[in-house]
């Protein structure tokens, strides 16, 4: 999984740059707590991870972060409105079933939301499909039969979703495998998309 870990590090780097010093963060699907642990050290954030898996809860606890064991798919009931400065969903959006519910819940409990996902529209993914295969890459490292991903999406898909769900995109960073920022044809050339957004004020 080391190739996947590299993607995770790229992802953490950009998330960290988006987060202000001393803020409060809710990290959904926090894994072993490494992102929050990193944010604690570099951004002095206080926050909580939400995690379903027993081993990850234990790992997070051992890593010294606050972790709340809960299944994201059940929503974020219990967390009050606008409790956090940021709610983060890192490399998990493509794996959730109730996408609309989760994004609405994130917008409810956080003032801003940061979401990162592998771009299914990346040219090499398109090429694999062209040759008749389900894409497998660093960002989507699974075979069709063992993937946790249920909603692979492209940058264009996500922006269309935002436009239809009163989501205001504040920041967008798209990068490729070498962490270079992609500004031209991002949906074709980018491997990873990082968005910061909030509720559109109407």
């Amino acid at each position: 999984m080391s190739r996947h870990n590299k993607v995770r590090r790229q992802d953490y780097q950009i998330i960290t740059e988006m987060i202000l010093d001393g803020s409060t963060v809710l990290d959904l699907g926090c894994g072993d707590g490494s992102l929050l642990s990193h944010l604690k050290k570099t951004r002095n954030v206080s926050g909580y991870g939400v995690e379903k898996d027993d081993r990850n809860v234990l790992a997070s606890l051992s890593n010294g972060i606050n972790v709340v064991q809960s299944d994201l798919e059940q929503g974020l009931a219990g967390f009050g409105d606008e409790t956090f400065d940021y709610v983060v969903l890192s490399l998990t959006l493509q794996a959730v079933h109730q996408t609309e519910t989760i994004i609405n819940e994130m917008l409810r409990v956080g003032r801003q939301v940061i979401v990162t996902f592998p771009n299914f529209g990346f040219w090499r993914h398109r090429l694999q499909i062209f040759f008749g295969q389900t894409p497998v890459s660093k960002e989507l490292p699974y075979q069709w039969y063992d993937t946790p991903n249920v909603h692979v999406l492209t940058i264009n898909d996500f922006e269309k979703f935002c436009a239809h769900h009163n989501v205001r995109i504040i920041d967008r960073v798209v990068i490729n495998e070498t962490s270079r920022s992609i500004n031209i044809l991002p949906n074709l050339l980018g491997t990873l998309a990082i968005y910061r957004f909030d509720k559109e004020q109407r």
Partner: protein, 379 residues
């Protein structure tokens, strides 16, 4: 594999001459608490952990008396050398609560004024009173700040109350299988237990000591009903199912099913060893527990002065204090931006799971106390 126990232990007594004004309004001018300690208090007195007991336990948390395995402490699987709450690192204190029947002043103790057992005249005690007396014990032992206060069920409620009443005197609270207050159903079960005791003809309005009798039937039924709420439907079914003691139905009221036999046995054992007046008072303390009441029911507001770090743990099959009840506490703590971690342990054992040696559960406690230890060292 069972890890080694701490071995033989000795209960100790502490006398308190400073009167205590109880929440019910009555004053106890002096009292004693029975307690045990395991491990060594460090020079800075920063490694003390208080263990609060639930309804029918005591100060005897770990170890044995006189090498007798049958006297093993009620949380020995968790507490001891090399165990999740490691007595090689921490100085652990178990205390029998005021009003108890294991050596601390309670209804079965002699009232020095009348030289008779207190019986019906012993005042009502509350979780707040227990926290106050436990804090006083800490002071007498030279402990200004506890590294942690831990408890399961009613013990967890005491840990929560500690963080509200004594925010500066503990660093961590570990709250297992508890709730921020009892539900109507919880109170209902307690009331059935109390009725069983008070309607027992041998109860004598609480003054049965002078009559040289015990309200055994009442206590037995109280324990039986309590026991049902500690187990899950599935756990009971797995353990007993519909098994019979003999091969065929007898069509009478003898003990036929294994579950009946088990409950009767548990009830009889308990009736011989526990004080009825203590049982009544502890169930009342449970019913009265509602720290949020002073802030119009808002638990988050009640916790606004708390400073502790928290670990909250619930068990999926616990229907007495379900995971939802623990989440109420977690959500109130998050609302106060307090450090809290929460685990919902997948266990079939119901409320009693908190007493069991479940690896996922014990590993979490071990990891948490590892943190407590490291944080203590860094200071």
């Amino acid at each position: 594999m069972m890890k080694l126990s701490i071995g033989d232990v000795q209960p100790q007594r502490m006398l308190f001459d400073e009167p205590i004004l109880l929440k019910c309004g009555e004053i106890l001018s002096n009292y004693q608490l029975t307690f045990e300690t395991y491990g060594t208090l460090n020079e800075e007195k920063t490694n003390a952990v208080l263990v609060c007991h639930a309804l029918n336990a005591s100060h005897h948390v770990a170890g044995t008396y006189n090498g007798d395995e049958k006297t093993i402490g009620w949380w020995d699987n968790l507490i001891g050398p090399g165990k999740p709450l490691d007595t090689n690192l921490f100085f652990v204190i178990g205390v029998n609560n005021l009003g108890g029947c294991h050596g601390s002043t309670g209804p079965s103790s002699i009232n020095p004024v009348t030289t008779e057992p207190w019986g019906s005249t012993f005042p009502m005690v509350t979780v707040e009173d227990w926290v106050e007396t436990q804090a006083r014990l800490g002071t007498k032992l030279g402990i200004e700040v506890f590294a942690a206060v831990i408890g399961g069920s009613l013990g967890g409620m005491q840990a929560l109350q500690w963080t509200i009443d004594q925010p500066k005197r503990l660093k961590n609270a570990v709250i297992v299988a508890a709730a921020p207050k009892l539900s109507a159903q919880n109170i209902a079960f307690n009331e059935v237990a109390r009725q069983a005791i008070t309607l027992d003809p041998e109860f004598y309005d609480g003054d049965f000591y002078q009559q040289k009798v015990l309200p055994r039937t009442g206590l037995k039924i109280a324990r039986m009903i309590g026991h049902i709420t500690y187990l899950s439907d599935d756990a009971m079914d797995a353990k007993f199912g519909r098994s019979l003691r003999e091969d065929a139905l007898k069509f009478n009221f003898d003990t036929e099913f294994q579950i009946e036999s088990y409950l009767r046995y548990q009830g009889d054992k308990f009736a011989e060893s526990f004080d009825a007046n203590t049982y009544l008072r502890i169930t009342k303390a449970l019913d009265y527990f509602d720290p949020a009441a002073k802030c119009s029911g808002k638990l988050a507001a009640t916790l606004c002065h708390s400073q502790a770090n928290y670990l909250v743990i619930s068990f999926t099959s616990d229907w007495r204090f379900s995971p939802k009840r623990s989440r109420e506490m977690v959500d109130a703590l998050v609302a106060n931006k307090l450090n809290v971690s929460y685990a919902e342990i997948d266990s079939p054992h119901g409320h009693d799971a908190f007493l069991m040696d479940e690896p996922v559960y014990h590993n979490l406690i071990a990891a948490y106390f590892d943190r407590v230890w490291k944080e203590g060292k860094d200071e």
